[in-house]
Amino acid sequence: MRRLAALGAVALLAASCGGDDEGVRGDLEGITVFGAASLTEVFQEIAPNVTFNFAGSDELATQIREGAPADVYAAASPRYPDELFEEGLIEEPQVFATNRLVLIVPADNPAGIESVEDLMADGVKLVVGAEGVPIGDYTRTVLESMGMTDVLENVVSNEEDVKGVVGKITSGAADAGFVYVTDAAAAGDDVEAIELPEEAQAVVQYPIAVVVESENAEAALEFVDLILGEDGREALENAGFGPP
């Protein structure tokens, strides 16, 4: 059955060669892409027909190790793609985008936070990514280079992916959180973003690769090309991602 589906996908691909972009996207329907949570909005915009599994990059890596049926893996940090590549589970990863961190607060900013320094105040409820989750590791890197790791004492929750941090802010449960600038943009008016010093920024890279065990390798490669191609780059740029 799976083989049949794969054959069908290949046939469809062949039929659409030379077609317009819409046609290419339609053929991607059969594949499953494991994407970092911060890619949720932009990937769905680029390829609405693809089946996505968005979560923390570390969790996705665990799922791929356990044999989850992924065709493509796109992570918010080179750490896990590099590990999976060394283990022979994915093809060589290619960086397709970059990102940077911002501090977000609810639109009404109840704790009156204007800067990272304000996070030191007693009773501030700060939410960050857990250690091992890319956003969590980047957050700690940024705070270290700012010499502000003390603010971590005000952390009330370590979230398993960046959308967990956004949710705690938009629901008004917490006062502030560190996320990617693209998540702040996607959350719109619900949050207010506070820029971090340029020199303290972490290098946030997004690698993408086809999963070795993919039963749909051609379509998977097609998706990777789409993301690396002009259409993908344009959509990523519009969403606030930086060039690789």
């Binding site: 923390g56 890596a61 109840p110 409820k125 989750v133 009330v156 929750s157 398993e160 008004g172 449960a173």
Partner: protein, 276 residues
């Protein structure tokens, strides 16, 4: 023909057992007992155990303290809308935990129905240990109250009447007649509520967040450690299996323990055994 029928059904029973038990067995086989004990001694696991125990005990205290009189009231009073009330109490039983989480946020969140006033008073509930207690109480309470109502209902009204006729006050009747006669069922309900509370995940992660040593209960620690340190996740999982098994056995064995110590067995057995 009849033999084939029996065999088919036996095979189905075997499949069900294998499907339910093999994953649990696999959990114990995945790491050695020594590694399991090592992992359980880690800070993360011990902190999670402590948070679960503390919040679980506080929540359970409220469940018993408020749930018991509430159940007695609903079981013994006859009034219009009683059936509707009982159904509403049971609603959280079938509610997805994530709904419980977002509902608690809608009430106690900073922009919530009560949260706004609480926040003005300087009280914030979400992302605190109190939030864990609330989430656990919310999901565990119906398990206890439902079972307690059933237990109180099985107490022979003639015994209550006799107690009252002999001059005992309603309070005395509750403490000396209704409560002892329902003890088995209440114990079973208490154990089930404890099990549900210990396993609580969805409402907690949404409403209370996940912070080691403060709000990270055992199920949340499993989720957090799965990627970082799978051994710890498995060890906590194995521990929870043992806790669940203990709860189940106590529910199963409770009726036979009380059989010889109390006459209540005859009247409360149906509720006690129907839950097992």
């Amino acid at each position: 023909m009849r033999r084939a029928f029996d065999i088919a059904f036996a095979v189905a029973a075997g499949l069900v057992l294998a499907f339910l038990l093999l994953p649990i067995l696999a959990l114990f086989i995945r790491i050695s007992p020594a590694e399991l004990l090592d992992a359980l001694w880690s800070d993360v696991a011990l902190d999670a155990l402590w948070v679960s125990l503390k919040t679980g005990l506080i929540a359970h205290f409220f469940v018993l303290l408020i749930g018991t009189p509430a159940a007695y009231f609903l079981a013994t009073k006859r009034f219009r809308g009683r059936g509707v009330l009982i159904t509403l109490v049971e609603l959280p039983l079938v509610l997805p935990p994530a709904v419980a989480g977002i509902a608690l946020l809608a009430l106690f969140g900073r922009r919530g129905l009560l949260g706004e006033q609480l926040y003005a008073l300087g009280i914030t509930v979400p992302l605190t240990q109190a939030a864990v207690v609330m989430a656990v109480t919310f999901v565990a309470m119906p398990f206890y109250v439902r079972q307690a109502i059933a237990s109180f209902e099985t107490v022979d009204p003639a015994l209550i009447d006799a107690s009252r006729t002999l001059g005992a006050s309603p309070q005395r009747t509750f403490w000396r007649v209704a409560l002892p006669l329902s003890a088995t069922g209440l114990g079973a309900g208490s154990a089930l509520a404890w099990a549900r509370g210990t396993g609580e995940f969805g409402a907690t992660i949404m409403f209370a967040g996940s912070l080691q040593g403060l709000t990270q209960t055992m199920p949340l620690a499993i989720y957090a450690q799965l990627d970082l340190n799978p051994d710890i996740a498995i060890a906590i999982g194995a521990l929870l299996v043992l806790v669940s098994l203990t709860v189940l056995l106590s529910v199963k064995l409770l009726p036979s323990w009380t059989r010889f110590t109390s006459i209540s067995y005859i009247s409360s057995a149906p509720s006690g055994s129907s839950s097992s």
